[in-house]
């Protein structure tokens, strides 16, 4: 039984009622073991059923409960009330994205970017079932493994000032995932991704602020992926200057 209350100021945007957002204050029981998402669920179940937000797995896997907590992008299933209490917790939708309602953001732009960079495997060579699986050594796996753990939570976009001011920027997660496939020994899609990755809205828009890597709950380090993609593009440019040079697929 909680002896004291935690206070949350929650961003409310209800376009059917008001054209501008407001903040609503809620008091919820303070429990040491509660995460911010537990507090939001308490509000939804006991105080205000109109509050809208996304969540699913409650264990930092699905990536759907990302929100700004006191100005910092967080998975609300992974930050505890005790980390903030007795300070008032201000919960807002992830910065940089359009808001559909309350804490629910519109992810269309992000999903389109994932499609543009072709964030999926484009096999170097097609193999039939009879030919067996695409084999890979542990050393080849190690090259890209870190970038493959992205859960598409978009916290990195909310942390990125470049995306915040220029939403045409492809952005950290999409580039990190493109780089993940570019570095995969089984993939042959480097050329297809290059057009989007290396154009004016691609890797060169990144000014290496590095906050995307700080907020990443899975330690993907998208800032590193972007800088390494820049190195690939630079190598390609110099290779193109010499007659014997040719663009190589990253391995």
């Amino acid at each position: 039984m909680a002896d004291e209350n935690a206070i949350l100021e929650v961003f409310r945007y209800q376009p059917d009622q008001k054209s501008e957002p407001t903040f609503q204050r809620y008091e919820v029981p303070f429990h040491e073991e509660w995460v911010v998402l537990d507090a939001l669920n308490y509000i939804k179940d006991h105080l205000d059923g109109t509050l809208s937000y996304r969540w699913s797995c409650r264990m930092g896997i699905c990536g759907s409960c990302g929100m700004m907590v006191n100005g910092d992008p967080k998975l609300t299933c992974s930050v505890f009330l005790r980390d903030y209490h007795p300070q008032v917790m201000r919960v807002e939708p992830l910065r940089g994205f359009p808001v559909i309602r309350d804490l629910v953001i519109d992810l269309d732009d992000f999903m389109n970017k994932m499609t543009e960079v072709k964030a999926w495997m484009i096999p170097k060579e097609e193999r039939s079932i009879e030919q067996g699986e695409y084999l890979q050594s542990p050393a080849q796996l190690a090259r890209y493994r870190q970038y493959s753990t992205c859960i598409n939570c978009t916290l990195c976009y909310a942390a990125c000032p470049v995306y915040g001011r220029h939403t045409e920027f492809v952005g950290p997660a999409a580039i990190a995932l493109a780089q993940r496939y570019n570095m995969d020994s089984r993939d042959g899609g480097y050329e297809e991704r290059a057009e989007t990755l290396f154009d004016e809205h691609g890797v060169w828009m990144c000014t290496f602020v590095g906050d995307c890597s700080r907020v990443c709950p899975k330690n993907v380090d998208p800032a590193a992926a972007i800088q390494q993609a820049k190195v690939s593009a630079t190598k390609d440019f110099y290779r193109s200057l010499v007659p014997w040079g040719k663009r190589r697929t990253e391995t």
């Binding site: 000032p161 000014t207 800032a223 800088q227």
Partner: protein, 144 residues
């Protein structure tokens, strides 16, 4: 005909959806709202000083001897050099610390420790600086 109507209603729904979205403003003072952002901006601004000093050195090459002496001596020049030195040091240290993000070296399945890579760059920087200082002192002494 029904397909056309369906397409129109879908477009209309998309238009309604877009019109009801709230676009969060990005504050113009964003770089003051977090220490890491402010440090990033300082790092970027130091590039202006480093670049400016490079231009200053190039200009010196084309000055007559008297003007050269006037440009590199005196309290104003000393103050400027101290400021540029601080900026250049900050610029160098921040970028050297970021090197492992760009340069990844593998030994089989193991990634070479990023701290080793950074340390190697620091050693290279110090050795090169000492060589340049030694060369300048040697030439200033008449090369004897």
């Amino acid at each position: 005909m029904s397909q056309v109507q369906s397409h129109d209603s879908e477009s209309s729904a998309r238009g309604d959806h877009a019109a009801r979205l709230y676009h969060q403003p990005w504050p113009s003072d964003w770089w003051l709202r977090r220490a890491s952002f402010t440090l990033f901006m300082i790092r970027e601004i130091t590039a202006v000083f480093v670049g400016g000093y490079a231009i200053f050195l190039l200009v010196l090459l084309f000055l007559p001897a008297g003007a050269f002496q006037a440009a590199v001596q005196g309290p104003v020049s000393a103050f400027m050099h101290v400021i540029v030195l601080v900026m250049a040091l900050y610029h160098t240290v921040t970028w050297l610390n970021l090197t492992p993000k760009v340069l990844v070296v593998w030994r089989g399945e193991e990634r070479v420790n990023p701290i080793l890579l950074t340390a190697a760059h620091y050693v290279g920087w110090i050795v090169l600086s000492l060589v340049i200082v030694g060369l300048v002192v040697f030439l200033a002494g008449g090369g004897a």
